[in-house]
């Protein structure tokens, strides 16, 4: 167990004694519960068990041991007695999402990891999901859907709440049919706070996180939610206020949110996770995120590079110059991604700045001799070289 989590566990014992105020929630089933196979719930578990087998084997699962162990340890600390009932899977997907299935399968998207400022905020989301699980909200909503006469839709029953993962055979193709209701959301928020505080985290992280997420979403130009998390979690207007008030009631907690540890854990994966985000073409949100990453101290060269990518791909007024500026800045910083040389080279090429382009292409290959596009770059180096000497 990482040192950090061990420290939290000890703190939890201490803070438990200080007493959390507010409603005291408890799970509504036992850790070793399994439904009778012939029951309706048994059928749902069976489907999810099969889905979990697909998740385990999915090419979209991030298998890095350190990251997975880190998440599992955090979930374990939050879930207490239910630690062994939950299995966490990290999915390569740039959307903000975390979900739990009634059989204890938890899915965390890499997009979530990119959006939290510190461990406390990450724990806030995971705690919220664990709370839904411990209060059996999924199975209750699933039963409501079945019974409702209005539910004449073609769905993979119950699974739409748990998906947002890609490359899986049993994935549902329908959106928000099975969202949680407002009471369940409130319960998950408050119970989540309770779990958060019991593990020694600052409960104030919850309202902070949701505020930041709301800010980011307000920038969504399309106003269409393609995000499965928000399709299933309706957000009440007064949610931030409720959470803020409830958090205050908890009193003392560990002051820092272990931001440094989270960053260190994510830094080696930052490039791969961020690249997926640009493919979404959600440029306003990407800009907001990159601003946050700059502030949080993610690898500077990479943040500058992705800023360049954002401007290059967005192509709004003035973006061309901003892209050049961002890539150039990246190249002044320690450890820029080699791709920065190449992208800047191409932009210079378009600007007919041949000597600069040539030099950048050469530096790209020097930094990345195994580049798969080496043949293309060599072609440009050669033709630019000829051009310059004419």
């Amino acid at each position: 167990m990482p040192v950090q989590i061990r420290y939290l566990a000890i703190t939890a014992l201490m803070l438990g004694a200080l007493g959390a105020m507010g409603a005291d929630y408890a799970p509504d089933f036992d850790p070793d519960y399994r439904p009778v196979p012939s029951s309706d719930e048994g059928g749902l578990w069976y489907r999810v068990d099969k889905l979990e087998a697909d998740v385990r084997n999915s090419p979209h699962r991030v298998r890095d041991t350190e990251l997975n162990d880190y998440l599992a340890a955090m979930v374990c600390a939050l879930a207490g007695d239910f630690c062994s009932s939950i299995r966490v899977y990290l999915i390569d997907n740039p959307h903000f999402n975390a979900s739990m299935a009634p059989n204890g399968m938890m899915l965390v998207h890499t997009g979530l990891l990119l959006r939290v400022e510190d461990e406390a905020e990450l724990a806030a989301v995971l705690g919220h999901e664990i709370a839904h699980f411990l209060r059996s909200h999924q199975i209750k909503q699933w039963r409501n859907l079945r019974d409702s006469a209005a539910s004449a839709v073609w769905i993979d029953v119950g699974l739409v709440m748990f998906t947002g993962i890609y490359g899986l055979a049993q994935m549902s193709t329908v959106g928000a049919a099975l969202s949680y209701n407002r009471d369940q959301e409130r319960e998950a928020d408050l119970y989540g706070l309770q779990l958060l505080a019991a593990s020694g985290y600052d409960p104030g992280a919850a309202p902070r996180l949701w505020t930041a997420i709301a800010e980011e979403r307000a920038l969504d130009a399309s106003k269409e939610s393609r995000n499965p998390f928000f399709a299933t979690h309706p957000t009440a207007e007064d949610r931030q206020q409720t959470l803020h008030r409830a958090a205050l009631a908890y009193g003392d907690h560990r002051p820092d949110g272990a931001a440094g540890e989270l960053r260190a854990m994510l830094a080696p994966h930052y490039f791969a996770f961020m690249r997926g985000h640009l493919q979404l073409q959600e440029y306003e949100q990407t800009e907001y995120l990159l601003g946050k990453h700059r502030r949080l101290g993610y690898p500077e060269g990479q943040v500058a590079f992705f800023t360049g990518e954002l401007h290059r791909l967005r192509k709004a007024e003035g973006d061309g110059d901003k892209a050049i500026a961002a890539y150039s800045r990246a190249l002044q910083l320690p450890d820029p991604p080699p791709d920065a040389y190449r992208e800047l080279a191409y932009l210079k090429l378009k600007d007919n700045a041949a000597p600069e382009a040539l030099q950048l292409f050469q530096r790209y290959l020097a930094a990345h001799p195994d580049a798969t596009d080496k043949a293309m770059i060599d072609y440009y180096i050669e033709s630019l070289g000829t051009q310059i000497h004419e």
Partner: protein, 197 residues
Amino acid sequence: MNNPVAVLLLMLLLAGCAPHYSLVAPGEVSAQGLTLELSKPWNKSPFSPGPRVALWTRDGEVLNQLFVIGDLNEGESLFKSPSKEVAMPTFSADMLPNELVDLTVTSLKLLYGGELTVTASNLRPQTVSGGMGFRFKLAHYTREGLYREGDVLARVDGDRLYMVIFVAAKTHYYPSQLAEIERLFETARITPTKGKG
């Protein structure tokens, strides 16, 4: 079914007007402003992904696909977007090879539902119809987890884009057709359709 197109097709089928695959015979074939030399026959799909694309298959679209794209003008996208919410990226005549790779990768990703990761590699120059074009490889997993590989040939001629994309299951299908595709790429000629098309 969860797609109005499919419902329409079902109605058409029940009414007796069935969509069907048509034969593309071996020999010289013109499609979308490209003339290709085919050594073997293909099946043309009735489900075309866009007005600038002819989609062919040999054994079924999950197993192998050949997209023939041509006469694509400035501002047009490779494929028609399958959903109103998501816009397809568009072509500009001043795009360099790296941008055209991005265009292809993002377009295919969105065509296949927006939820896949398509990766490109091995970008290199290649003569296409007597002029400077280029070539690159693709790879992706389908939603069901089948791994597919692809090969793309592209050239911008005048202000128009011409492209041939071959994608097939990595196990058996891609390697067994590669030689045929190589010949097809080498002998492809651009024979543009007049006017804005």
